[in-house]
């Protein structure tokens, strides 16, 4: 599969996370300066240069579990606290289903880049008063344009397939999607057979026949079953421009409650549980990946006496507790336990240890080294 998928996956999921957090911060009337601080901290951690460097290296996608750990880390890169149930039940489910929807509905495989740009455009809106962070985001924007701008349609099709394989079998019902009728009751997304065709695709319904000289000799129309119209124009792939595509823009307005319905919940929860309990032969590789990425994460220590605050992702404290109670044991994964405050020295230590691994570069790491890393992470 494509080794260029991770940056797109990470940035789009990160974008969705920021949309949700922004909406919750507003809905819970968190004071403007605190809310801005939260988003600024998370965004500046996400777009940190070293972190981006690691992210953009050609590599395969890791598991959903490994990725979820990064977002948990990110969400805690600020003065805000979320409990574990909030993180995976609400936030991660919503993020993944939203991006899955966007990928599935992209008219052309290349349009996933426009979706990414939509997320980045909105993120830039969140931090428009912070020129340093803005610069970081623009830097990433330029990198995306440089790396993905020249990829062929075939390479984008492969990226699309890689993303869809990552999202395969996820059918969590999202109340907002159900209300908007973009998702069916069985958790599957509605694929409309109307609307604009992708840029570069002709309207279906025409057969043209040619002679040996390439001259058209007949035209026949046939009934194709859909109700399509021409694409109005192509979205812009520049740093600034009209993306045309609406997928990836912020669909959470201040008035909409953000809920996730887990009906047939035992089925949905079971599928996550199965993923977590099954022995993961990738555990060590994934730890390496996480260590590399987080080694590049510069976490700002909360300065001064500013107290942290708790953010509810559910609509009431009671529901938060309820979620914690109904969370099955299996989902309390203990493999990685990283606290909210990680100091600079430790991440350098991590990076150094990872450096040692790179040199040996055998496919099978010696057991003792792997165990050391696991033990080290448990101690954090």
């Amino acid at each position: 599969m494509s080794v260029r998928t991770l940056p797109l996956l990470f940035l789009n999921l990160g974008g969705e996370m920021l949309y949700i957090l922004d909406q919750r911060l507003r809905a819970q009337n968190i004071p403007g300066d605190k809310a801005r601080r939260v988003l600024n901290d998370i965004i500046s951690t996400m777009f940190n240069r070293k972190f981006m460097e690691e992210l953009f290296k050609p590599q395969e996608l890791y598991s959903k579990k490994a990725l979820r750990t990064i977002y948990e880390r990110l969400a805690h890169a600020s003065i805000m606290k979320l409990n574990q149930a909030s993180m995976d039940k609400q936030l991660y489910d919503l993020m993944t289903m939203a991006f899955k929807y966007q990928v599935l509905l992209c008219p052309r495989p290349k349009d996933v880049l426009l979706v990414t740009f939509n997320h980045l455009d909105t993120i830039k809106g969140f931090i428009r008063d912070s020129p340093t962070i803005l610069q970081q985001v623009d830097e990433t924007f330029r990198q995306l344009i440089e790396i993905y701008g020249g990829l062929s349609a075939g390479e984008f099709q492969l990226i699309r397939q890689t993303l869809l394989i990552f999202f395969q079998d996820l059918h969590i019902r999202v109340s907002m999607f159900l209300k908007d009728k973009v998702q069916n009751n069985n958790g599957r997304f509605v694929l409309p057979v109307s609307g604009p065709v992708p840029w570069g695709t002709e309207l279906p319904g025409l057969i043209r026949m040619f002679n040996n000289k390439g001259e058209e000799v007949t035209r026949i129309e046939f009934k194709h079953g859909g109700n399509y119209v021409r694409a109005p124009k192509e979205g812009s792939f520049e740093l600034y421009g009209d993306r045309v595509l609406k997928l990836g823009t912020n669909m959470y307005s201040a008035n909409r409650p953000v809920e996730t319905h887990m009906s047939g919940s035992s089925k949905n929860v079971a599928s996550w549980a199965q993923e977590s309990i099954a022995p993961n032969p990738l555990a060590k590789e994934e730890l390496n990946f996480l260590a590399r990425l987080m080694g590049g994460m510069e976490i700002k220590k909360p300065s001064g006496p500013e107290p942290g605050f708790r953010l509810n992702l559910f609509t009431s404290d009671e529901e938060e507790e309820q979620a914690a109670l109904t969370r099955p044991e299996e989902l309390s994964y203990e493999v990685i336990n990283i606290q909210a405050t990680q100091d600079q020295q430790r991440s350098e230590e991590l990076a150094r240890i990872m450096g040692e691994f790179e040199i040996t570069e055998q496919p099978s790491l010696s057991t003792s080294k792997g165990d050391d890393l696991l033990a080290m992470m448990d101690e954090l």
């Binding site: 599969m1 080794v3 495989p109 099709q157 694929l191 057979v193 025409l206 057969i207 026949m209």
Partner: protein, 316 residues
């Protein structure tokens, strides 16, 4: 007119690959075999005519060097004159089995080169297959493509014994037409136009190619001339299949539609002609595999991304 028949349940949903359904018809035993790729595993199952599943088996890609679990890219039955082989491909290599998937008879590792998997160079590998047993040998590597190969189609060369014509397609949309022999010869090249060609079929000297922009093109294999251009689908085509007895072509795409076409030649000019026969909408399903279930094209089966069943249709 087609009606929706009883679906066959799958253990795992179909992966979002192209050409993700293979069908082996065994009319003598009143059975049909189906093969679908789920991801790291492929599912084989056999069903009776009414669609009742009888037996099923799962195959995995060979682990090989490297740490991530290999994903299967295609499962396909190759029907040779004297034997049927089941071929499984992944980034690690090519695995060949006896047709029921019970025994692996051959494994060909692809060089992984650097750490990035899928250094797909566009090589076409030709294997010599003995009538029985595992003595399979890589006999030739054809160079003609620079981007990954997406599909291969073959048919016996007209009027020639033991010689076949072959069409290979790739991610850039390029088609190469070959003739087999002691060595393969490149006959024609049909350039792409900026979109991949995920699926290709060959019938009586007619090349049918499905493209990422939803079009189906019909070319004359001997000259490479384009004779028919169909704006068939609103999204990328994911599969094509042929019912050779009837000259029927099946096209399926990510737009949820499946269309059936009748190929023919004009009696006067002998130019390729086509007629639309039928369209079917598989609601809310990004179709990723489609095959006729009989050689006259009176029934077909379809797989879709995230769908854990094989949908079947037959004509009334």
């Amino acid at each position: 007119m087609f009606r929706w028949e009883r679906s066959i349940p799958l253990r795992g949903s179909a992966a979002a690959l192209c050409n993700n359904l293979s069908v082996l018809q065994l009319p003598a035993r009143n059975l049909t075999h189906f093969g679908v790729v789920h991801g790291p595993s492929a599912q084989l199952l056999s069903a009776a005519p009414e669609g009742v599943p009888l037996a099923q088996r799962q195959l995995h890609a060979k682990e090989g060097a490297g740490v991530s679990p290999p994903l299967i890219t295609q499962v396909h039955w190759c029907v040779l004159p004297f034997r049927v082989l089941l071929v499984l491909t992944s980034h690690r290599g090519i695995q060949m089995y006896e047709s029921d998937g019970s025994t692996m008879v051959y494994w060909h590792a692809l060089d992984s080169g650097d750490a990035t998997p899928g250094t797909w160079s566009g090589r076409v590998l030709v294997f010599d297959i003995p009538a029985k047993g595992p003595n399979i040998v890589l006999s030739e590597e054809l160079a003609g493509h620079q981007t990954p190969i997406t599909d291969i189609a073959t048919e016996p060369a007209q009027g020639q014994d033991c010689v076949a014509d072959m069409v290979t397609a790739d991610d850039s949309g390029l088609l190469c037409v070959w003739r087999s022999g002691p060595e393969f010869t490149l006959l024609t090249r049909i350039p792409g136009f900026g979109v991949p060609c995920p699926s290709v079929q060959l019938w009586q000297g007619i090349i049918a190619a499905g493209y990422g922009n939803g079009q189906v093109h019909l070319y004359e294999a001997t000259t490479g001339n384009l004779h028919v251009q169909i704006n068939a689908h609103a999204r990328a085509i994911s599969a094509l299949d042929l019912a050779p007895e009837a000259g029927k072509l099946l096209s399926a795409a990510e737009d949820t539609f499946v269309h059936i076409w009748k190929l023919s030649r004009s009696p006067e000019s002998s130019y390729i002609e086509v007629e639309h026969c039928h369209g079917e909408c598989v609601s809310d399903t990004q179709v990723c595999g489609a095959r006729f279930c009989d050689s006259s094209g009176s029934s077909f089966a379809v797989t879709g991304y995230d769908l854990a069943e094989i949908r079947r249709f037959s004509s009334v």
